[in-house]
């Protein structure tokens, strides 16, 4: 193992800084168990990269529920109010016209409008909330430097412990990961640009 760390060091041309150390697993089960252990070990800044959302992995990693719903709610409420305001202002306030004997404003007949706007804004809230929480779009990231990162979209499962992690240690961490059954332990470095 030591040597393949080194020869990776040899291959890197530019002046790099470390991002973290990765270990790959070949099945959902493995990474599921591994994740649990890493959490118990007390690591804080680490992440799993999986081709599919592995169920229960959140709990294993000890991360809580997603915040996306807040954005959805926000969007929805905004939408509904926008709709109401729109209809009231245009048909009842700015230029009230007698149309088919119907009231200038009523919450009933224009309800489809409120309704659709609610959904529209909520949908935007959801999507952009997700983007925001995932810090997307972010086209440049250290993990992309990993030689086999692509496989995580196919059938490989990967754990990366970041160098910022207080418990991170150049010696122990790779050993620990290996002990969890992680394969091809790799140091991820990104070049300073």
């Amino acid at each position: 193992m030591a040597e393949n760390i080194n020869n990776l060091a040899m291959t890197t041309k530019t002046m790099d800084i470390k991002y973290g150390i990765s270990a790959t697993f070949s099945s959902a089960k493995d990474i599921f168990d591994a994740a649990g252990k890493i959490r118990e070990e007390g690591y804080k800044k680490w992440e799993c990269y999986t081709p599919i959302p592995v169920h229960g992995l959140d709990d294993q990693m000890g991360v809580g529920r997603s915040k996306v719903p807040c954005f959805t709610l926000l969007g929805g409420v905004t939408g509904f109010l926008t709709g109401m305001l729109l209809v009231w202002f245009m048909n009842a306030y700015d230029y009230p016209l007698i149309v088919g004997g119907k009231p200038y404003f009523s919450p009933i007949y224009p309800f489809p409008v409120f309704y659709e706007l609610t959904i529209l804004f909520a949908a935007f809230g959801t999507l952009f909330g997700m983007f925001f929480l995932n810090r997307l779009p972010q086209h440049n990231h250290a993990v992309f430097e990993h030689p086999n990162f692509g496989k995580t979209g196919d059938d490989k499962f990967m754990v990366v412990v970041e160098i910022e992690d207080p418990k991170f240690d150049d010696e122990d961490t790779p050993v620990f990961l290996k002990s969890l059954g992680g394969k091809s332990i790799t140091t991820i470095k990104e070049s300073i640009v």
Partner: protein, 1127 residues
């Protein structure tokens, strides 16, 4: 006047007329006018003409785009050098004039916008017509702007290329031609052929000429003078005797083939007004005073539609019927003259008539003998007119409700005489003065004579069939361009023809031409003045006479007559029987073109025939019985549609015709009359016809009248014979195997038992005056006004009550204020007064710039009329698979109802149609994007969509879009500048003539403010104007349809004013809303129809057929006797 040089063809009337007023001055326009038939240009070479106009359009376009460098195209305003007095730009002026017709001069008022006549109204000073007009006068203004009018005078040149020859027209100066013609009478004999008109001036001028040996021949295809001649001759009276009914005094009328309410008889406007005034029913007591009409006729006419009892009878048997009827009268009067009676019975023959019908009818007439009248048809033979006269005499109604006016004899010079004179070289020149004899009287041999004589000229408004046989054609001025003076038909007044505009082209009037021939150099104006001053007892000055437009003269009716029986004894029985193989043909003036004079008039051509609902064509009307015979004899003829499942199950009645994709497929047949005459035309099955009568109409099948009128319909004039009755017998009918599509605007004739037109008999009405409220879904659904049901009209109209609606309705208030609109407009249409004359349709078209869309588009169901006249038939025969023979006719004028809770408004996504504070259903064309949702959601289907640029494009090139030609500019001169001309893609509909409403409101307010200021001297805050001072007085606004209606069936006004006439009518128990149960709350409501049948008549039914059908369908359970007729 303001004239604007604007090239961009935008959507507005103002746009058009501005550009056109200006246009009329420009050299382009002038040259266009002159070049219309450039030297050597072939007359009917459309390709060349179109090409030419394309370039013209282009040059106009360029003219405007000249200064388009700046932010908007530059318009210039061109004021006068010296402005005429009394002319304020933007304010129309009105002139009294009149229209010369074979039925006398009709007094009119013409509206003029900056010198362009745009609208015709009746002259209210002509009190017996009460300011109403007939449909043709309404349409006549369009002829002035007909692009196919001859734009000057021409000499005909035959060009021969090898063996084929083509006609070319060389433009000449009319004035020069006139002076040239004036020499004809010197160089050999001159014959003048005129149509018949009661023009003082013309008769005077002609008499002068006749005294100098000039021959005068007078003809009419529909000869209005035949009866007065024949009656006079058969009675041996010196002067002609003109029958003038006084129908306002008539209580019982028997019409013998006489359509006195329709277009076939003289004075129909006055007749309608007088007769229908006897059918105004506002209370039970009126119902007992109601007059009664018996119609005996072969064709189903408007008169037959109004009739309380109608008997189908061949025109050729009318004489026999009259004889029997007279015999019956004499019997009932206990007459001693037994041999006359027996003679009459002999004439009647062993005929198939229903004797009970005759006797009961006779009894009924005798019951009010002073006020009973028998009217014979214009086209009938002398014997019938004699019999009718005899009956009236014995009824003693002569002098009360029928009068005979002695009128001067007409020229007796006939075509035969002319032929001889020409043959013997006594006549070397023929001058045809107006009219179109070659087309109207093809059997007169005139066209050979014209080729024989050395000089021949035709004065006509367009280059027509007659012109083609004359060496010279002289463009005739439209009556709105010329001076004249003439009698009304009943000779109760003399009325002027006053020009509103200088001739658009180099044309002259018949008066001017005759004056020239008379070597009389004075202008036609001076002649009229002179003629007027020569009149006896002219106490008013000529100018005042022009203002009033009427000079009343005393009618001296003939009162003493010889005893008729000796003349009656002379009558021979003519007992002919009709059957499938020997039919009778009745020739009538066509509704659209009359005798052909309106055959290039788009408004008339597109206005549906009130009975057949056909447009753009005439058809050979046959009875359902004969149609069935044809079907059986010629299988596969496809004359009557195969009964569908819905027909057989009694769900709906069968259509009257076969429709392919909504286009009526009519088989073409040949009618052979005698041995040598035949006509070929499409067949239309008409319920209500006598079984073996075929009705053919004159006036169609023109070859040379103009681009829209050419080759429409069939030409029946070959059957006419000058000076003879228009009933032909011994005719046969053979299909040619070909078919023609007819543009019928109403595919379905039955009301299907829906309570749309609500009718009752007088007796029923007396027992239950609010019968209309007991019909329709709303009669057994919760009242739409809920708790406010009994509130008054004022309340209902101002604060649209909620009723049972789930919504609170906004009041008719000004925006964000508590103040109701000043007025609340509403309309009431009295179905009992409507005769179906359709004048309202054309009046509306003229007032509101409604485009003509052409036959092809009508076939596609895209006619644009804002008001349509629905015609329903109803019958006792309700075998779903059979077409009835005996029908009752119900008319209903349907225009936008201006619903208070309008379904159309709710669904418009862009607020293009909304309500205003006075209850008008506004239609903002410029806001409309054209989703057509409103039209779908209108239960009355009164909205019309501009599928194409009707106003901009030629009707035959609509599908070429931007590549097609634009209309001639001149057509736009007739547009009403106060109404937007709609572009394609926008919806339109009746606006209650909102332009008239706005104008009156503005006038009223200005008047109020100015007068008060003058009175009080305050012009500031101390000036107080009450709400009522700002209101338009009741009757101050007349809609176009209301103004034209001879019977005042339409009343418009402010329903928030309980004293207004319309409010009174709306509170009448006969008032009902069509489809009221939909809670649309229409502002236009109808007064239910009341018929007045005679209970003792054999064909009496307790209820009108339509009412009976409604009750049978609405309550099938108790199908009781009270609703079934005696037999």
């Amino acid at each position: 006047m303001i004239k604007e040089n604007d090239s961009l063809p935008l959507l507005s009337g103002k746009q058009y007329w501005k550009s056109l007023d200006e246009l009329a001055e420009t050299p382009e326009f002038r040259s266009w006018v002159d070049k219309e038939f450039p030297e050597g240009a072939e007359l009917l070479d459309n390709v060349q003409r179109r090409g030419f106009l394309k370039t013209m359009a282009a040059s106009f376009g360029l003219a405007g785009l000249g200064m388009s460098g700046c932010r908007r195209p530059e318009h210039t305003i061109l004021p006068y050098g010296k402005s005429p007095e009394e002319l304020i730009p933007g304010i129309p002026s009105f002139y009294a004039t009149s229209r010369p017709t074979p039925f006398g001069f009709l007094p009119l008022i013409a509206e003029s916008h900056q010198g362009r006549p745009t609208k015709i109204e009746g002259n209210p000073s002509f009190t017996i017509a009460g300011g109403s007009t007939d449909i043709y006068s309404q349409a006549s203004v369009l002829d002035l702007y007909d692009p196919d009018r001859s734009r000057g005078s021409f000499s005909r040149e035959i060009l021969r290329k090898g063996d084929e020859s083509s006609v070319r027209w060389k433009k000449l100066s009319s004035a020069k031609l006139a002076s040239e013609i004036s020499n004809w009478s010197d160089s050999g004999g001159l014959a003048i052929i005129t149509d018949s008109a009661d023009s003082l001036l013309r008769n005077e001028l002609i008499e002068n000429l006749v005294s100098t040996g000039v021959k005068h021949l007078e003809y009419e295809a529909i000869d209005p003078h035949l009866p007065e001649k024949t009656l006079a001759s058969s009675l041996g009276v010196a002067e002609n005797l003109r029958l003038i009914p006084q129908l306002h005094k008539a209580k019982k009328v028997l019409s013998l083939d006489c359509d006195f309410l329709g277009n076939r008889e003289p004075n129909s406007t006055v007749n309608s007004r007088q007769f229908m005034s006897g059918r105004k029913v506002l209370s039970a007591s009126d119902a007992s005073k109601m007059n009664r009409l018996y119609a005996v006729e072969s064709d189903l006419t408007l008169t037959g539609g109004v009739a309380d009892h109608r008997l189908r009878l061949p025109s050729s048997r009318m004489e026999a019927f009259a004889a029997l009827f007279y015999a019956e009268i004499l019997k009932l009067q206990k007459s001693k003259d037994s041999n006359l009676i027996s003679h009459l019975l002999k004439i009647g023959g062993d005929s198939e008539f229903d004797r009970k019908w005759i006797s009961e009818c006779a009894k009924d007439l005798l019951s009010k003998s002073q006020n009973s009248v028998v009217l014979p048809g214009l086209h009938q033979n002398k014997n019938l007119h004699l019999l009718a006269f005899a009956i009236n005499q014995s009824l003693g109604s002569i002098g009360t409700c029928v009068t005979y006016l002695p009128v001067s004899k007409r020229s007796s010079y006939s075509f035969e005489d002319l032929a001889i004179d020409v043959k013997e070289k006594r006549i070397s020149s023929i001058l045809v003065l107006g009219g179109n004899p070659v087309y109207n009287c093809p059997n007169s041999g005139l066209q050979d004579l014209l080729s024989k004589v050395e000089n021949s000229a035709h004065l006509g408004q367009s280059i027509d069939e007659t012109s083609l046989h004359c060496k010279l054609h002289i463009g005739q001025s439209h009556f709105l361009e010329s001076w004249d003076l003439g009698y009304s038909w009943d000779q109760s007044c003399i009325t002027p023809v006053q020009p509103l505009i200088a001739p658009l082209y180099d044309t002259i009037s018949d008066i001017e031409l005759l004056a020239a021939v008379n070597k009389n150099t004075s202008s036609s104006h001076d002649l009229v003045v002179a003629a007027y001053n020569n009149l006896s007892n002219t106490d008013v000055a000529f100018d005042d006479f022009l203002r009033i437009g009427i000079h009343k003269i005393k009618q001296s009716f003939k009162t003493v007559f010889p005893d008729t029986s000796p003349f009656l004894q002379k009558l021979k029985p003519a007992n002919l029987q009709l059957d499938e193989s020997s039919l009778e043909v009745l020739l009538t003036p066509d509704f659209h073109t009359w005798d052909g004079r309106f055959s290039n008039n788009g408004w008339m051509l597109e206005c549906p025939d009130p009975i057949s609902k056909l447009t753009w064509d005439n058809a050979l009307l046959v009875s359902p019985v004969f149609a069935k015979h044809l079907e059986s004899k010629y299988p596969g003829l496809g004359l009557l549609p195969k009964p569908t499942m819905l027909n057989k199950s009694g769900q709906i009645a069968p259509d009257a015709a076969v429709f392919d994709d909504g286009k009526q497929k009519a088989p073409i047949v040949t009618i052979q009359v005698g041995s040598d005459h035949s006509i070929t035309g499409p067949v239309y099955v008409q319920p209500g016809l006598a079984d073996f009568t075929i009705v053919a109409s004159l006036g169609f099948g023109r070859k040379h009248t103009g681009r829209i009128g050419n080759d429409l319909g069939y030409n029946a004039s070959s059957l006419t014979h000058f000076g003879q009755s228009r009933i032909l017998t011994n005719a046969s009918c053979v299909p040619t195997g070909e078919f023609k599509t007819l543009a019928n605007v109403q595919e379905h004739w039955s009301m299907e038992g829906r309570a749309i037109v609500r009718e009752a008999n007088a007796a029923e009405y007396q027992s239950d005056t609010s019968f209309a409220h007991h019909m329709g879904a709303e009669s057994h659904s919760p009242p739409i006004y809920g708790k406010d049901l009994d509130k008054d009209l004022v309340f209902k109209s101002q604060t649209t009550p909620r009723g049972n609606s789930s919504y609170e309705h906004p009041d008719h208030n000004h925006e964000k204020s508590e103040e109701h609109g000043l007025h609340q407009w509403g309309m009431s249409i009295d179905l009992n007064q409507c005769t179906g004359c359709s004048a309202c349709v054309v009046a509306c078209q003229s007032e509101n710039n409604i485009p003509v869309v052409g036959k092809d588009q009508v076939l596609r169901g895209r006619e644009m009329h804002w008001i349509r006249l629905d015609r329903y038939f109803s019958s006792t025969q309700r075998d779903g698979a059979e077409l009835p023979s005996d029908v009752q006719v119900s008319f209903q004028g349907v225009a936008c109802m201006h619903c208070e809770t309008a379904p159309c408004e709710t669904v418009c996504p862009v607020n293009a149609t909304v309500h205003d504070e006075e209850g008008l259903n506004a239609m903002a064309y410029n806001r409309c994007v054209g989703t057509r949702y409103c039209a779908n959601n209108c239960p009355y289907k009164v909205r019309r969509f501009n599928f194409f640029d009707w106003n901009k494009r030629k009707t035959d090139e609509l599908y070429e879009g931007p590549l097609g030609d634009e209309n001639e500019p001149v057509t736009a001169m007739g547009k009403n500048p106060d109404v937007t001309v709609r572009m394609r893609g926008v919806m339109e509909k009746c606006t209650y003539c909102t332009q008239r409403i706005q104008e009156s409101k503005i006038r009223t307010k200005i008047k109020a403010q100015r007068q008060k200021t003058l009175k009080t001297g305050n012009d500031g805050k101390d000036l107080i104007l009450e709400r009522d001072e700002l209101k338009v007085a009741d009757g101050g606004i007349k809609t176009a349809c209301q103004q034209v209606c001879p019977t005042d069936a339409i009343v418009f006004g402010d329903i928030s004013d309980p004293t207004s006439e319309v409010s009174k009518l709306k509170s009448n128990p006969r008032d009902y809303s069509v489809l009221g149960y939909l809670n649309t709350r229409p502002r236009t409501t109808f007064l239910a129809k009341v018929r007045n049948p005679n209970p003792r008549m054999p064909d009496h039914a307790v209820s009108p057929h339509s009412a009976r059908e409604y009750h049978d369908k609405a309550h099938p359970s108790h199908h009781d006797e009270e609703h079934s007729s005696p037999h």
